[in-house]
Subunit: 273 residues, 2 copies
């Protein structure tokens, strides 16, 4: 069984979900499978607060019919919704996360990065959630577009739920609540026995915030040395973020890279900026 402690270190992040009923449905799936930490990235407060309000209403006064869609979707998910947090931007939402995993439908995005099947990704996520200081974020995009390339660039691992693709199918995507349910089912499916036997990770893992700091500093280095001017295609933020995702798996190593990049910046004439 997936221990309650490890389960609590897996966070569901809904990025740009527009429909309160979908947020409620995701919360209900979390409740069903015993996950508790829900974060919603949305510039606009209403959808989040509407679903939160209605989920709490459902508990305090279950006989009163709230706005039917959300109240139904979030049945039993009031605890999850009550603890859910809204963020204005993705980097803040994942700042404390040690592994950031993006969900994506396959096809048409021109991604060159490897996309794991849910079945292949789940054991890696469970392993990453073992250390006490770990936090694994599982990101779901908006109902309409999924995660954008920019949002995917924050992810160290990409996964997809293998869907049936008939000939000529162009657009594969799942209902948001169903996708969350399937992912959390898979994470709960085998339990933790296998993961526990694997060697423990003793090094403190770097957080998304550590890595984002690296990304920004590396961008500065590219500017200051004139590299960005000469190789603009290699210096786009999403490309640089992909580079730094490989840096500093541990906090110690991230600190070394940060120190070196700062050092380079200090020594570099900035005339080419």
């Amino acid at each position: 069984m997936l221990s309650a402690a490890a389960r609590a270190r897996i966070t569901v992040v809904l990025v740009g979900a527009r429909n309160p009923s979908n947020i409620g449905a995701a919360a209900r799936a979390m409740q069903d499978f015993g996950f508790t930490d829900l974060r919603v990235v949305n510039e606009f407060a209403p959808p989040f607060e509407a679903s939160q309000l209605e989920a709490s209403r459902g508990v305090e006064n279950p006989g009163v019919a709230a706005e039917p869609l959300t109240a139904k979707s979030a049945v039993g998910a009031a605890d999850v919704m009550a603890n859910a947090r809204r963020f204005d931007a993705l980097p803040e939402a994942i700042a404390d996360c040690t592994l950031v995993v993006g969900t994506t439908a396959i096809g048409g995005r021109g991604l060159v990065r490897e996309i794991l099947s849910l079945q292949a990704a789940a054991p890696q996520m469970l392993l990453a959630a073992l250390p006490a200081e770990a936090r694994v974020a599982l990101l779901f995009g908006s109902e309409k577009t999924g995660l954008t390339n920019e949002q995917l660039s924050h992810c160290e691992m990409l996964l997809t739920i293998p869907l049936f693709a008939p000939e000529g199918a162009r657009h594969l995507s799942m209902n948001l609540g169903q996708a969350v349910a399937v992912c959390l089912y898979e994470l709960s499916r085998e339990g933790f026995e296998n993961a526990r036997e694997l060697p423990a990770i003793h090094e403190a893992a770097a957080t998304a915030e550590d890595r984002e700091r690296l990304t920004q500093l590396l961008l500065d280095v590219m500017q200051a040395t004139g590299y960005a001017k000469r190789f603009p295609a290699n210096s786009r933020e999403s490309v640089v973020r992909a580079l730094t995702l490989q840096l500093g798996k541990s906090r110690d190593e991230a600190a070394t890279w940060l120190g070196l990049f700062r050092h380079i910046l200090r020594k570099t004439p900035t005339s080419e900026q």
Copy 2:
């Protein structure tokens, strides 16, 4: 491997589903995982015909907003809905089925029959669907009550989706669409013949030689910028090699790092070497 033919021999039966949007959501999950045979047992025609009508509308005239709930739930599920059949009573709906499987939440029903986990039941269902004349029915009850004892009595096998049950939990049940999605995911989990292959990694992997070149160049950068003098422990060759092992998983990325480090070297005053 679940062949398309065997998949066509697995039938989803919704017994007493009241909400057209839930029927639409189940149809969408079926479409996502490549299942085609949906049967709805309902004394009253309206919910079924409403969801069928709206699913077909969505296809014929996608610009026209139908009743929003169902139209949304059944996105991409028009084919499934168009072929769906309504029955007045359960026995008729499952008359041609060679194995009837009921889904149920655990607890409180006083059932003495064995209930398999979804994981344990799925291989038996797949095996039962192998013969050409087979038909396996998977039954889901109404949103409110689940399958009744009478309905469960028609089932040769009972399964449950293992849910997280906190202390004192009385009522465990899933959203209908989510439950259908999770069951069909499990049935498809081992792979599809027709599933689109996961994108291959076309990028050439970096070689040990590429990485060693990176190590040496990074050592040079550390020397040239004075970092090595200031942080000697971080600048030992073995430490730097550990850092570069994470760089440039692909040759393209390794080339980017090499280019950047060379650029930095050219721009850095070498006075501290």
